[in-house]
Every structure is written in C-alpha cells, then in structure tokens.
Symmetry: D2
Subunit: 334 residues, 4 copies
C-alpha cells in the first residue's frame, strides 16, 4: 500500500535507498523450474549501470547482483526471489551541506512534504538507483516468456529524431544509444558530451516494440493492458508522457482513416492484445541536475540510454503478470 | 483480479453489460457521515448521459441512479454503496446479424479472443456505458474532498485548438463542449453534425486542471500519483495518450529552462503532489464507428464532450484514494 | 480495504444493509462459459433463507435472487456477476425506540465506535442477512469445481453430539438440521422450540468435509489454505473457533501417534492440500438475542441450521480462489 | 499472490529458504520518524532463535539481523525496511539421502505436489526459520503502537495446564517457557528433555492477551479483526486451531449466560474491538519429527516456547495493519 510493490500475480517489491546499505527486490510469482543464469541477470543490470555508456554518468558502480533466495541448483523454486545490490560508491562528502538542497524536479521537497524525514545523502528511494530492482524483475519476467521480445529505441534526442520503428530488426545491434540509425552513435556521444560540458540536460523520446506477445491479455475494465502499461511506465521517475499506437497523432486523424489500418491501435483493442506488435511511445523530461553540479562526472545529461532497459523491464513485468492472470483461466477453455 | 475494481482504500467495483439488466458500481471506502444528495449525483450522471449534447448521440437513455445500499437518512454509512442504472433503451433488433461483426478499434474481436464468449447485443463491458460506474464513483470522491476542484476542457477537436488552460476560470461556464472559448460552441456543434452527416468521426484532446489538491499525495516507487493517474485515464476505452505538465514538449526543452519554472512539472515532483495545480493532457482516438452505421442517430462522432465527466471522475477517485492512503499516517506526524 | 471484498482471483464484494433497499454481491473472476441455472442458485439461497426450518426464525422473507449482470443466454460471460436480493420484510416499527439499544455480542456498539453512525433499523451490515452474498458466491464457486463436494453437519447442539463425520455419506439426506443422525430431527426441533419458548439461545459445532479437492492448493507462507479457510470461516459473525483435522485434540496427542495417521492433518500439510478429505471444525456462539425479545418469532434460538450453507459457501469460495491461483502456473509444469 | 506478503497497509513480504543464503523480510508501511533500536530488534529475534531455551533445539544459530534499507540515523524513513538474517549453520551432509524423504505432517510432499521442485536440503520456505521474518515485522508493528501490549503464555503442554490468564501480570517474568506458573519451569524443562530422549514430541496450547488495543478496529464484513487474526495465526505452520474469548466452550453455554459477561467475546463484537482485553486461544500440533531423528540435538520436542514470539508478532502485525486502515478515516470524524 505504500507503493513499493508492483504487479498482482507476478510482483516485485522494491527496497533500498541510494546511499543505504543495499538496494534490492523481492520477485514473487515466478513459476518453479525455470532455468536461472546469473550471468544473464548481471548483463541486464550492466545495461543500466552507471559508467558503461559514454556521455552518461562517469560514476563507476559495479552493481553486482547477489541472489539471496528462491533459486536452487540454477532453477527457480517458485518461492520469492530476493536479489540485492550493495551500494559501494557512496562518496564521503559533506552531506549536511546538501541537506536542505531541494532541487526542482527532484523529489527532495515532496519527500519532505510526504514523510517529514528523508535520507538526505542522496535521492533515497527516488534515486534512479531504485530502478535496478525493476531490471532484476524484468529478467525473471523474460524467463517466463522466452518467445516474447521487448525492445526499446531512443527515437528522439535533441536534433536526433527517427520515429518509425516498424521496419527495425528487433534483434539488431543499434549501439550504445539504441538509436535506430546506429551510424549516428558518434554524433550522439558528442552531443551528450557537449551537454555535459555546458551543464545542460535533455529529455527525449523512446519507442518500444513488443513482438510475440500472446493474444487476449489485458483485463477490462480497469486493468486494460494499456492502462497497466501506462502505470508501469509512468512509475519511472523521469517519464512524463505515455501513449500507444499512433498516440497523440490520433487527435489529428479521421476515424475513417484509423479504421482502415489496425497499426494505429498499437497491438491493443479494448485494452486487450490482438496479436499485432505492441507499440509504445514514451517521453522523458530533461534530467533535473543542471548548471555547475551537472558538469561533474557523476551526472547524466540525458537518462534515456540507461533508462531503456528499465522501460523494457517494466513492460515485461506488466505483460508477464497479465499472462499469469489469463493463464488461470486457460484450463476452463472449451 | 479480473480488473473490475479500481482503487485501494477508496475503490469502485464496476459491473454490468450495455444490453444487460443493469449497470452499476459498488463504491467502498467512502467515510461515514458525508451528506449525500441524489440530485447532485444524478446531475453528474446526466453530464455523460446520451442525448443531452447536440452533435453527440441522439439516443435518449435517462440513466437513472438507484441507490441500493450504504446511504441512510441522506448520510453515507461508511459501508459499501451500491448504485445501479437500469438499461431501458435496448432496441429489439436482429442481434444475430451483428454477432460476428467485429468492428476495428472495438473490443469485439479481443473480447472473443479473451473470453471465448460475449454478449453480442452490444459492446458489453467495453461499451461506453460502463463509464457511468466511474461517474458515480467520482461523485463520492468529490464528497470526500469538497475543497478540491477538478475540471477538464476539450482543448483540441479538428480545427478547434486552444491548449493553454492556465488562465481559465475553474468555476466558469464553458458551454456544452467544455471548449475554452465558449463563443465557439455553435461552430463546434456544426462541426460535429457535419462529421455525423458524413459518417466520419474524430478524436481530440482534453486538458484537466486540479486545484486545491493536498500536498504530499502519491506513493513512491510504483504508485506515484502520476502513475496511478495514467492508469486511471488509460483505463478509459477511447484514451490513447496521457501526459502531465509540459508532457511531450519536455522532449524539446533544455533542462536549464525546465528547472526555472515549476509549471512544467504539472503539480507533481517525484510523483508526489507539490501544491501546484495539477495539469494533465489526454488524447482520445476517433470513435470506432464510421461509415453508414455512424450516420444513425445513436452514435457519437466525437466522444470527448461526454467523456469529460468520466475523465474528471477517474481523477477524483485516484486522488481521493491517495488521500486516504496518506491520511492513515497523519496521526504519526510529529 | 474496508473489508467488503473476499478473495483474490475469485472475489465477492458484498453490499447492503439488512433494512436498506437491497443486499447483493458482485462475484468477479468466474470463468466464462459456465452453465448458469437460476433455480439452482435460488435453491442454495433458500437453504439459508428465514422461515424454512422449524425451530429457527419464523420470519418469512423470500430472498429472491435477481441477476443484474455477467450472465447471458444462461452462460457466464467472464465478467462481474451482480446478484441482488431486495429487502421486502422491513416491518414498519418505532425504530427510534431501538436506536440506542446496544445488544451484547452484537455489533451495535462497536459499529458506533467505528463509524460514528449506523442504520439503526436493524443489524445493518452485521446482520445475518449479509451472508446471502456469500451463498450466492458459493454457488458460482461450485460451478467452477463441479467435481468437488463440500458438506457440513451440525455435530453438536446442546445435548446432541455426534462428532465423527468420517463415515457419513457426503451426498446423503440428513434432514433440516444436517445432524449426522437424521432420526433425531424431531428431538432437535423440539429442543429448538423449547429454547425459543424460554427466550434462550445456544451455539454449537459444525464439522465440514470436503471431497475431491485438487491437490497442491494453498500458498505458503501466509496464504496457506488452512489460514485462508480460517479467515473465511471466522468472517462469519457467529463463529468463535476454527480448527482442522484433529484440531484442539492435537494438544493431547503424542507426535509418534499423530505421525502414523494422516487423517489428523485434515487434508492439509504445510498448508497445502494433500489429496485427503479436508475436515474442518467450527464453533458457533449462542445467538445474542435472548429474553423476551427472543421469544418473538423473528429470532433464531440457534443459527447453525441456517448457517451451514454459509459455511459451505465460504469454503467453496476459498478453495476455488486458490484453484485459480494455482492454475495460473499449470501451463509451466514440466 | 503467491502468499508471501501479509497485511494491507502494513505489510511484510517474507523470503528465503532454510538452507539458502539468507532469509529476510521487507516491512512496508511503517510510518516515518519512529525510533529504531537494533538491540531491541535482536532481542526479539533471540526469543525465537534456536539454542536459547533448554529442552528445545540445541542447534546454535545466532540469527543476526542486518538492516539493508528504510532506516537512517536510527529513525524509520517511511520507506520499505529490508532486514535479512544470513544462514550460517547449514551442515554439510548427504542431502541426496534426504531428498526423497517426505515426513508426515511436513510440507515435503505437498511442496512437491505444488511446485514440482524443492530445496531438499531442509524445509525450505516451510521451515520454522521462515518465522523470523514475522518476528522482525512484529518488532516494527510494536514500534507503531507503543501503548499496546501483546503477551502469550503456554497454557497447556502434556500434564501442565493453566488456562486462566485473566489475572496474570502482562509485564511479569514467566521464565523461559512462558508458563503461567513460573515455579514449574524446571519440571517443564525435564518433561521436554524426556520427550527428546524418547524421540517423542508434543503440541499444546497458547493463550494470548492484548491490552490497550484501540477500539473500533476490524473491518466488516470479511476483514473482521477476528478473521484476520485467525488467518495470521493459522499461517503459522504448526497451528491447528484458533479461537477467541470463550472459544469452543461457547458450544456449551446458554445465550443468557453469555450475554451477561462480555469477557466471553474476547474483546471483539461484530469483529470489531470493543475496548476489552483481546483473548486468543491457539493450539499447536506436535512437531513432526519423531523417532531416532528427533533424538538428535537439532530438533524441538515442542515448538511452543520458541513459537510464542512468532504468535505475538503476527498479532501485532495484524492489529497495526488494522490501526492504519482505521486511521485513514480519523480525519473525517465529526
């Protein structure tokens, strides 16, 4: 009820402050008997870990996953899986100095409004570090649905824009920035480094395609898949907009046009998957740290490259949860 | 779990098919001792009822609320409140004819994929009629928070566009279409009637402002208020996009610009209300019925005018739920 | 959250006051395509309805079920099923007289403590009438699990005691009092009539056997089947004790004895069904109304005969809920 | 949904296998700003830890609590609190030997029925070690309600029986066995040692008194406090019976007698607390390990002395959860 658990049949309960002892997650509802591979889990974590992508934060934090429960002899037990990541890079600094420092767009002020207390050494639960819980959860969701593929691309960043993802190879290599045109990787890197040099930051957009999602997922009336995906995506700190299919362009289109091409519906009709690829559009705000502080190495001028695995993970979790919900009724089918 | 209940502390459980005996809702979690007024509830229902706004459906259905429980001597009891609306306008028609008629963008096909059976006499649970449950819920949410004001405007429809709502009077009269410039009402009416004549339909956009929402609402990490609002809004059938504050424009703005003006954050930082007005942006797709069938009187060429009370209600329910969640801790404050 | 919903995958949301317009229930999570029969539902309701068993209340209230939603052409749709029962027998009486009348053992006083208001015309939500919602839910749970049989017997009432149910025919006819020795029916009737004449009341015990419950149901650690059954049974107003298998006798037995005969475990080990018949033991307190008021026809000197279908229904609902929860994983089995 | 989370507003999510890396718990919903003391938490854990009470298991396992999150500068943050206890005493033994060893009354067989896989090195999630999660949770629940006192006594064990707890000093010292007559401690110790020598085991009964519980707690209709307490208590592996107030004796009493003395109702009427002390009665089955294996030092001939803190903790958690649920409405009171 305090909002740290996501999902109904498949759930993640996230815990940990950015500057506390550890962050982690309890993943509950994973079926027994799935093959677990720690290296694969670690690879997923590394995609969002700091220090791995040029132009994002230079802070090095290894983010090593430790599995405390729920896995035995490389198989899931069907019991809750707790995975933690210890915090190693809490710099000793004069925390008192930043105690009253409420950064606009950050949760600093609202956390105080809400709780009357906060771990002022960092962002606490509102830090981007919390999202590693989601990536761990996403790994297990993917294990449950090996045939499904979820892939996100950065489709807009400053001058870079490439919005049509319908022809992209979902298994292709798009470089460190997941930009549809990989040949722009160097330009993007330089753009990010320039932002950083200037203490500036930027948001942008991400598009996600989901292939091989089972049909019939999504629960009317309130747990439509589009509704639960919206919640999943908006629960990510930096996200400010969500749409699916043709999204905001729908406001410009004639009904007669829309009805002729189901791709406008982005894979969901009535909030239920129809077998078409799912297409989601997500907008990020600029990171909140700007000015001199942003010039330090530890900050991200744009969070999108590191956020893409988080976005993908939240989508995987949402769909796998709905898959279990629907499977409960599979045995009753005529 | 089958998705017909929304909210945690304050919840609505919606039931009923569009062509069944009745639709209705159980509203649970309303505090005891609130003053109930059936006329006010009926007024809210009338805002979304068919037949009351020119240019929308001409179908007349009175949608009369009957309170079955939870109210005694005009006060809420704190017990579950069941309100039903009987269906009166199910035309006798050759339902077998439409049994296999799966309209694009409708839930007809996906309902069959999911359940293997459906009430083919109409949209069933996916009909817009289901939304009266939400409006009834919204009435009680508003009772709980008399100081809060939630108001939506149609900010885009075809050639009509007026996106800045920051200067509008939240208590003003904006005519039947809730368009910021009320003087355009006749033009909008004619535009809608033309659409209908041509069997065409249109989506558009709605902006909502919330004033006097308490600070500190929203639960990190997953039940951020923005996340729960996104889910609430996307659970409405025709909605395809949600954003808050500057929304998709955030992809175009410099972080240094954003950080100077908190209005970009739309009343929420870290997913928690900060005392600023909440601003939400919502995109509707065109209604799915087009062509000859849409020329009949019973269809809406644009659903927005009737959907605004639904949008407002979902927002009220979401905020009131979070209000209760936060109030549970009020007694512990130092 | 205000406690009017029971169950996770299969849930009932109960509403209605004893002297309001109607009582009812929303049953959600019933699979689509099950064959519905209104007469069968009504028969179940009639088992707990007042006026049908000599020696219980003489009040006649037909308790007619009306299905508002979720059923179409005699099949369940997979959508929420709302069934209501209108109150017809609210006697016009001087309610002001009983307004301040807080009966010991009743919820009158505690309802005021909790809500600060109550429908003083009767027991409100704490009336036994609320249990018709459970019996309706139980009907649908049974539809889901046609092979399973749940049967309760009154094994103790005053001088009548017959505790061993292991040899009873689960499909047999045991008369109106469900006493293992049907030949005692007349004696029991006279005992009850005597109680009534004297303004006295009695509790007693019920034993339940469940046959053909699937193995593997029950979720460690907290939602063990025995735990959820205990909650289900203790949620019935008049129940004061719950046990399973050898129950309180377990305090007297040697471990070496217990380990030799699995029937001591009542069908559940580790909180999970093991294929043995489930055996539950339930104790009811005496009904709270005693003295002159109890001598009127409208009161029950012992609630057990009418409570047995309620007990059975809560058990069916609990097991069917767990069945769905387990079925969600059936497709992953190796 | 897989049953590892208990509570709604205040919840614990338990994880860990008895022979895995660690066991632990995420406690969510604890108010911010409460004073935390690691020594007090450790003391509570030590009450159920093995090796501290003569006549119970001689296995020494320190069960050291490590707080990973949710506490900062000795205060709760209002964020999820993760506490883990590493497993240190997994003896290297020939686990293959016990792999197919399904002990009656244990969850071994039913775990295989349910999951098709288990951590056969020990009881896994069904081990008594899981209960340390509950004791940790209980510590935080007690922090929230400093005025409330929850105390359990062993009121029956073999020849020892002392059932009336109404006159006991809730703050008194009753020795290692929590027996109402402390002078019997040596006799009880010898009784337990004898059981062990003979490879025998025993169950027994526990009575609990709760003083200073707020009035008005418990949610009709399904989340009556008695119902949620029953679930809480039956979720403990070895518990087979639950009652409150006069419990099973209610089957023997006249209604006229019961109505004269509210102590029969054990502090709850209509499932809502009435201000009287809450009295609960709990029956444990004999521990399942008997015979030669039970003669080893690592087994408990009776689990009750170590289970009392677990019982107390589940009660504290249940009441604190209901307290938050009721507090949500405190601000609406007239």
């Amino acid at each position: 009820m305090r909002g740290n658990t996501f999902g109904k049949m498949l759930s993640i309960t996230s815990f940990g402050e950015s500057h506390g002892t550890a962050l982690g997650v309890v993943v509950d509802g994973v079926p027994p008997g799935l093959k677990f591979n720690l290296k694969d889990l670690q690879s997923e974590l590394d995609r969002r870990a700091p220090g791995n992508i040029e132009g994002t934060t230079a802070r090095k934090e290894p983010d090593t996953a430790e599995v405390l429960s729920g896995v035995f002899e490389d198989q899931t037990l069907g019991t809750p899986i707790c995975v933690i990541v210890k915090n190693t890079n809490q710099r000793s600094s004069d925390y008192e100095k930043i105690k009253e420092d409420h950064r606009p767009g950050h949760a600093d002020k609202t956390t105080m409004l809400k709780y009357g207390i906060r771990d002022h050494r960092g962002g606490g639960r509102s830090s981007g570090r919390e999202t590693l819980a989601r990536v761990i959860g996403g790994y297990f969701a993917q294990l449950m649905m090996p045939q499904m593929k979820v892939r996100g691309w950065m489709t807009k960043l400053g001058p870079f824009e490439s919005r049509d993802i319908s022809k992209l190879d979902i298994n292709g290599d798009y470089g460190p920035y997941s930009y549809p045109d990989k040949s722009k990787s160097d330009e993007i890197k330089n753009y990010l480094l320039d932002l950083k040099k200037n203490g500036e930051s930027r948001g942008g957009q991400v598009r996600v395609m989901v292939q091989n999602c089972p049909m019939g997922l999504g629960e009317p009336s309130f747990d439509k898949l589009k509704a639960d995906l919206a919640k999943a995506i908006l629960s990510i700190g930096a996200v400010v907009a969500f749409s699916y299919g043709s999204g905001e362009e729908m406001a410009e289109l004639d009904g007669s046009v829309v009805s002729k091409d189901s791709s406008h519906f982005g894979g969901m009709e009535g909030g239920i998957t129809n077998g078409d690829p799912i297409v989601l559009n997500i907008t990020f705000k600029p990171t909140s740290t700007v000015g001199d502080k942003a010039k330090e190495g530890r900050h991200d001028p744009c969070i999108i490259p590191r956020a893409i695995p988080v976005v993908e993970s939240m989508i995987k979790l949402t769909i796998a949860d709905h898959y279990l919900r629907q499977q409960a009724y599979a045995g009753f089918s005529k």
